[in-house]
Symmetry: D2
Subunit: 407 residues, 4 copies
């Protein structure tokens, strides 16, 4: 088994683990249902970027070569979560039935996540008086055991857990040595939970993607550590719906020489995400990352944006945008867009894409941030490109180039 592992490690197309941080949430459960449905031919891979050319012929692991596990602090299983999503009409009953066993298998690979609140009081998983380093090592051991159990060439850790409030910066976030020292100190709690998980990915030698606006690996000291230890990383905050639409439209206006005066938006959503974002602290992270690209693309700073919790909408997200544009001779034009979609159904295929693409990056020995994966993120690391078409082009080039390299 060890031997096979070694052989396959240089092939991007070898068996690959997806380790979800937040494995029992909507996105991870939906991705797991979808992965099983695609693998067994019950559903086409619609909504997956990597299912079309040039990705289809690139050196990526097949859908059938992806194995799911993860961390979560919830006791509600992936199967139970998927049943709720059937109830709300998001996942079809027949797909749940067809993928039930795969969900159960994936949920059997879920381990207790790091819960800073429990940890502070010596909760069930972290011993009283343990440090964040201890916690991260426990998490890393879960990932390593998963990799060995399934003889995986590599693991990609993807954070799809609930959005945290913005992190308050401390000097250790900017200095690797200081950070490592602080982590070892049981009296300190220098990282938010998402960053402890990201650090665990580094310890486990796993590739990493930050699909939420939480800090995750996006602290300078952690990024540096990833670079030092040969870990490819991509982030941040999945560009799934309205923000993606904005980064399609804004560059198109610019290409026409039209001037965006204001771009106002309102998002309505229910579900767990709606409830999380009803917290004014948590929503701040989200609003900031949603607006950054838009302001860069348009030059306008009149971009009022709201996220409202509308529980009766369930998993549906409705977004209205009003774009006010100056044209020839000071004339005005308006574009309104209304977007309505199941948010998890947009995120889940992109998460599968990221697993496949980061497997390629890992196989190619790429370390640190992969700016060419900016297409997937509201706030792309180490890139100031937000234009979706330009990002798509850069992604295709990168995949062609890197595939050639690993073959």
């Amino acid at each position: 088994m060890h031997h096979a592992h070694d052989d396959s490690s240089s092939r991007a197309s070898a068996r690959t683990g997806i380790w979800f941080v937040g494995a029992r949430g909507s996105v991870a459960s939906t991705a797991t249902v979808g992965l099983a449905a695609i693998t067994h031919g019950q559903s086409p891979p619609t909504g997956c970027v990597t299912a079309r050319e040039p990705f289809a012929s690139a050196a990526l692991p097949a859908f059938a070569d992806l194995v799911v596990g993860g961390h979560d602090i919830s006791a509600v299983t992936m199967t139970k979560r998927a049943e709720c999503l059937v109830e709300t009409g998001m996942i079809p009953q027949r797909l749940l039935a067809a993928t039930h066993d795969a969900l159960e298998r994936a949920d059997a690979e879920v381990r207790s996540g790091y819960d800073p609140h429990a940890a502070a009081h010596g909760g069930p998983e972290e011993a009283h008086g343990s440090s964040q380093q201890d916690a991260a090592e426990r998490l890393a051991a879960d990932i390593t055991a998963f990799q060995e159990r399934h003889a995986l060439a590599r693991v990609v850790v993807i954070d799809v857990s609930s959005t945290e409030p913005p992190v308050v910066p401390v000097p250790e976030h900017y200095d690797t040595d200081a950070l490592l020292a602080a982590l070892a100190d049981p009296t300190r709690s220098v990282l938010p939970a998402s960053s402890v998980s990201a650090y665990a990915a580094i310890l486990a030698g796993a590739a990493y993607a930050a699909f939420t606006p939480s800090a995750g690996m996006g602290l300078p000291a952690l990024i540096q550590l990833a670079r030092d230890r040969g870990i490819p990383a991509a982030g941040q905050d999945g560009k799934t719906g309205e923000t993606w639409l904005r980064t399609v439209l804004a560059p198109a206006f610019a290409a026409r020489g039209l001037k965006v005066l204001s771009w106002a938006g309102t998002n309505l959503l229910g579900g767990g995400d709606g409830a999380t974002l009803a917290d004014p602290e948590a929503v701040r992270s989200k609003l900031a990352s949603k607006n950054r690209g838009l302001r860069a693309l348009t030059g306008s700073d009149t971009t009022p944006l709201h996220i409202d919790n509308v529980p009766d909408l369930g998993d549906i997200k409705v977004a209205w945008d009003h774009v006010h544009v100056e044209g020839f001779l000071g004339s005005r034009l308006t574009l309104q867009t209304t977007w309505s979609a199941h948010d998890s159904m947009l995120a889940a295929p992109l998460v599968l894409d990221l697993a496949r693409l980061l497997a390629l990056a890992h196989a190619a020995g790429i370390s640190g941030t992969v700016p060419e994966l900016g297409y997937f993120f509201k706030d792309p690391w180490d890139s100031d490109v937000h234009d979706a078409a330009e990002q798509a082009g850069a992604l295709e080039d990168w995949v062609r180039r890197t595939s050639a390299q690993v073959r």
Copy 2:
């Protein structure tokens, strides 16, 4: 003066004539107001593609080097037309005041267009018993006289006249020699008016752009003639508003691996264009060219589309689109867009762009269709690229390359 003319003919940046077919319509009048306003610093060139990089530093004639003339069959002057557009709130009063003299000068360069109905009865301009060849020569002489009067390096003819019904094909449209023979025959009327004007452009050695869905130069025999005689030509049917938006959005869905199931649209517009398109025959040309790109981009053939004449909207065009898309695991998402704009304010700056770009093509000695100008058209000649972002990239490359060539 003749000497200067000779010198400048190799420089794309030399004084260039714009000869509008339909010079007294909304688009030409608005473009003329705008050209004067930009030249005299009363308005920035917002909405002009060529005002931004890399065009701003390309070998294009300056706005100040463009001189306007044209043909029309209407007796209502450009100034009068512009006054109406002030009345409806489209053109600001102060800009009309500032550009009044320029409009008067341009209108003084307007000559009687070819009116097939009048021609059939030996109308005021065409002698009784004259052929379409005679008519085209008269039109060409107007263009040549304009060029000499203003010592212009070259002229670009741009058709912005009212949309004609779809042309009924005859064998002469496909055979240059047969066409030339038929044109000389006073008993035959083998070309629609827009194509007589296009033929006149060829006779006058002028570059040509078809900004409407009318046949214009878009008949195989005429395109061949343009190629033979060294005339660069671009078309067809300006991609100004809703169709442009569709060619921005549809490729973006495809890049995400999302599948468009249906794309329904409704256009409301008043003004002269609304009235013209209330004619079910004329609207057929328009609807066909509006839908062609969409179907190519999405693969869906459920693309119901309507154009309604709503006179009270005046020059404003309102377009609603409803896009129904299949995503991951058969989930559905919808995007609605509502676009509201003064149509002539979108078209006018693109028309100025085309004049500048075709001047470059002419200076570089390019003959026949210029597919790299497809960005500007619903139905690009000799190109099956409809993706606006891809077209914008191809246009930029072409301008850089061709500018380097003429310098």
Copy 3:
């Protein structure tokens, strides 16, 4: 049993039959599922006008006192139809399970409808050489047998079958005696199918509602016959969605002294209704009745309207309206509305309301058209009131008044 029947006939609240023309279509099947679900407490009567005051305390038959039967020319059962509606996500699986037996019972009461195409060739139900009188008598006998089988105080016939093309008027449509003579003539086919069914309702002494734009009982000679024979009748063309919204909004603009300049609309729908209305002949009936009220309410005749068949939308109807309004000092305002709903889910509860209300009219001995039921119709018989709020008030008054009369 006969005795009980006699006793109950003067009580509006006695057991009442609903006889659907088109019993195996979406609307009738949904209404039958709903009736069972309401009766057994599995669903509240949301969307039923008569579930709220003052109707809740009026002399109407209880939901539990309604019994379903009907005619149809389709062999696909109500249960099968409901299963399809579960498949498309319109009816929840749990409700189908809970109402399965009620659907089976109702479908057992469905008899072969009148099929003019089969009849012309002496099809399975109508004997060769039989007249439309013969056909109507057969249909009436089905209704009477249903009434006796279930000891019903009365039956209400409701036409929810597919829309027919506009009827070509003949003199017999305006003269009762001439009509009766023509019906008896086996060589003639003077009525469309919907009107044969309406005539059968008259023969059976049943109240009648025309929920479609088809002719039905809406021919002068039939209305006269209903009046003569003591039959209450209401029509025409259910006002369920976009048209209802228009008759809410248009009077509100008028009350403000605002002037509607144009009101443009587009309807997208799939399902059987979408396919039926893709037929340009059938859609003519629908478009005419949809626009009539709007023109009466606004005085504007710029009301372009389209219905497009978009099969991928299934049972969902999406309607976009653009209202252009003149306000103070010639200023303009626009209102856009986008309506998205399952059309059958809007129609079904109104159909149950009509059954209950026409039972009251029948008990009160009202003959001929009941203009106070105009609230339910796009084209109210014997009324020029289209204002939804005014209609709602008139309906409440009528129910109070008539209830007092029958108690």
Copy 4:
């Protein structure tokens, strides 16, 4: 002159003054332009409720019998304000030209308003150490002088000034005697500016309307005082656009038995109002009064609502509403509305209506609140009716009844 005054005071149709609090703002300036344009036949009274029956034949003062004056703390004249509104495209140039003299005459009747900030420091108008009673008496004297100067039968004071933050209640707001004592105390400042103006209306014997959400006369002690001194009063917060639309739609859903689950809204506006409402304190008053009626009408408390300052929209207000509704068998429907209008163009004609209707109330000797004027307000005083159609009916009844009384 005094004699004529006495005679006319019993006729509602006699010459009537409109005294604007905030006379130099957009609403008052637009109303003044409009009043002149209507009086001189340059514009029809579109948008005025009282221009149609039964109001047109009621005992109301003619538009030509209305004379304008008012208070303001701004030095920018009504004419200058109107010129700005021409500049932004709201008021047509030709109407400004036609009404210039009327604007100048009205502005000559504008006196310095009460400025609490200036007053606190013994500003230009209020003497150092003066009380709010002194200030109110000064304001009342301005109104009385205006009435005498123009021999007006009566004056209607209408508050259209900028929205104040919510008032902090003190015991004096609930006790007339305590309030009067506090007003006389130069060391206290117990009323916000809008309420000092309302108190001045009482002192001057003028009818009063609160068109903004500011406290104005809406404090219990002031309402009591109005009742005691024979002053009719109406409020509060003009129901002009989106809120009006909501009170049209919400009752219509209820009449259908449909259940509103959530009603989310976003308002974008620029202009002075946008800037005022960008202040989170001021916007609180507005949001509360906008949502109150909606919650009463729907029973839903999921009604997220935002007002964003979008300066580039100028005087245009754009409002998007998303209504999520439960229908039959738990089905869901959505209605989206987008409203776009010049806010002052909606308010101005309603303000003229209120002047005419309060003149009638005054002539009829009505004291205290007039709940039958609730049609005009988001937060109707002494009424819990929000349904626009029901309010319109009550208003018509009241006008008929009261007109009969004064004739």
